[in-house]
């Protein structure tokens, strides 16, 4: 992410953002994009409005439009009521929304979101999802990194699965599902010995499996022979999800 704004230099390869070469034209590119960092770097001594005003200036919003731009960003982040509260008085979720509003104050075409929902309550996270979705609806390009696979599945038109700094798969969520794991999955619970047995029998039948904590999932279960499923006993059927794809492609264990 920092390479896209010219704040880190690539050791090899070429980067272009909005058709502009980075880092040569990174200042121009930064004028046209909004950046929401992972770590909160708001001005804690300033109010929400003052934070946004400062960035409206830095992002070259024309003077007579600044107030409107700040109001619009506050509204987008649902912070209008807390506009004059100091950042240090805002809750974690509000700070995160303000951070996003700051990256949007100049109405950029491209928005970079670096793990915007990490460490937030489910309710707050859902709020952010709607915010991100509304950006998408406005026709902005949103580039978001996340460790929450569910988030990518819900929000993304195009997903790139990364492992050890490389893109190992890329496509629309449903395409990735279809290509790598199929539509359905069945999750089996039981003793370690039973789970091992299920894993072995499924693998023997050329089925993909995945350890899911205390259970094991047979992926692409719609293609599994009915006889085998009957023998394996009761499982919990579910839809295949992007997490299955992720774990399958990046390996079950972290090295």
């Amino acid at each position: 992410m920092r390479m896209l704004t010219g704040q880190a230099r690539a050791t090899s390869g070429k980067i272009e953002v909005l058709g502009l070469p980075i880092p040569e034209k990174s200042k121009q590119a930064r004028a046209q994009m909004g950046v929401v960092p992972q770590l909160d770097n708001l001005e804690t001594e300033l109010t929400a409005r003052e934070n946004l005003s400062m960035y409206a200036v830095l992002y070259r919003v024309p003077r007579h439009e600044r107030r409107a731009a700040v109001d619009r960003a506050l509204e987008l982040a649902q912070l209008s009521a807390r506009a004059d509260a100091k950042v240090s008085e805002l809750s974690g979720g509000m700070k995160r929304r303000l951070l996003i509003a700051r990256g949007l104050v100049h109405n950029p075409d491209l928005v970079l979101l670096d793990e915007p929902t990490v460490g937030l309550d489910p309710q707050v996270r859902q709020d952010l999802w709607s915010l991100i979705d509304s950006l998408r609806a406005e026709g902005k390009t949103v580039l978001m990194s996340t460790h929450y696979i569910e988030e990518a599945e819900r929000l993304a038109d195009d997903v790139a699965v990364m492992s050890h700094g490389r893109v190992v798969a890329r496509g629309a969520p449903h395409t990735l599902l279809k290509e790598h794991v199929g539509e359905r999955a069945i999750e089996f619970y039981g003793t370690p010995a039973r789970l091992a047995e299920i894993e072995q029998r499924a693998t023997a039948a050329d089925l993909l499996t995945r350890r899911t904590g205390p259970s094991i999932s047979i992926l692409g279960s719609e293609k599994a022979p009915a006889a085998l499923l009957a023998e394996l006993g009761d499982g919990v059927p579910r839809s295949a999800n992007l997490e299955d794809v992720f774990v399958l492609l990046t390996g079950e264990r972290l090295e």
Partner: protein, 263 residues
């Protein structure tokens, strides 16, 4: 209307200065009292302690009342305190603890613009704070003169150099505690041996040579000449040294901060 997003962004633009100065002004309106006290009180205490204390032992120095000698010299001390310390501490805190600069550099702001904008704000403040010892000395009989109107500008130029110097230090040290080395080993000798409290002409020759490399010495001389009468050739030389110091400190600060801010 031209869309600000598609118009060409130049290397140096007013927006950074406006943004940084607005930001500083907002903070200053909130914290002016503590910021002013810390920049002004210490030099004034030195001025009173030396001026009134040593002043009872020494009547005149270089033809000046001792209190006038110290009062004009303390301008440089006030400028130093008001520029080097914010340069070191504010810059370190904003870069490391608040990560403000990281955020700003994600906007169309470059490291050299950022350094220049922050440094010029600090220098402007230092130029104004620098006049306080002069004002105090008025009460001890210093006669106002037109040349004194230039003192804030001399303070600005000196403050620019020391603000950039402080910013450079802030990006060299590994922890903020290490700045104490600079304070005690560099800044303290600089302001003590600048001709502020005693003329350097009484010092051994090596110290007199060393003083030529002390920007504060040139600031002190320039301020005294502004107050008591110009010496054109010498003053142009002092001005040149202060300008070169500011330029070198700027280059060093930009280089070192870029190293720390851009991976």
């Amino acid at each position: 209307m031209s869309d600000p997003k598609t118009r060409t962004v130049h290397r140096y633009e007013w927006a950074t200065f406006e943004g940084v100065w607005n930001h500083e002004l907002t903070l200053f309106k909130r914290y002016w009292a503590s910021s002013t006290v810390s920049s002004v009180v210490q030099p004034v205490i030195y001025l009173l302690a030396f001026g009134l204390g040593v002043g009872t032992l020494v009547a005149t120095v270089d033809g000046l009342d001792y209190v006038e000698f110290v009062g004009t010299g303390s301008v440089a001390t006030a400028v130093l305190f008001a520029s080097a310390f914010p340069g070191m501490f504010n810059t370190y805190v904003r870069r490391v603890f608040q990560r403000t600069y990281d955020a700003m550099l994600a906007a169309p702001v470059s490291v050299d613009e950022l350094v220049t904008a922050e440094g010029s704000w600090i220098a402007a403040k230092a130029g104004i704070y620098g006049t306080v010892p002069l004002i105090v000395t008025f009460f001890f009989g210093l006669t106002p003169s037109w040349g004194m109107l230039l003192v804030p500008f001399i303070g600005f130029l000196t403050g620019l150099g020391f603000a950039f110097f402080g910013m450079w230090v802030s990006a060299v040290v590994k922890t903020i505690d290490e700045t104490t080395y600079v304070t005690s080993a560099v800044l303290t000798p600089l302001f003590l041996v600048a001709g502020t409290f005693f003329p350097i002409s009484n010092l051994p020759e090596w110290a007199q040579v060393a003083a030529q490399f002390n920007p504060l010495y040139h600031c002190v001389q320039l301020v005294r000449d502004a107050c008591f009468g110009w010496e054109p050739a010498a003053d142009l030389y002092h001005l040149a040294v202060l300008s070169v110091f500011a330029l070198i400190a700027w280059l060093a600060a930009v280089r070192q901060l870029r190293k720390k801010l851009v991976d």
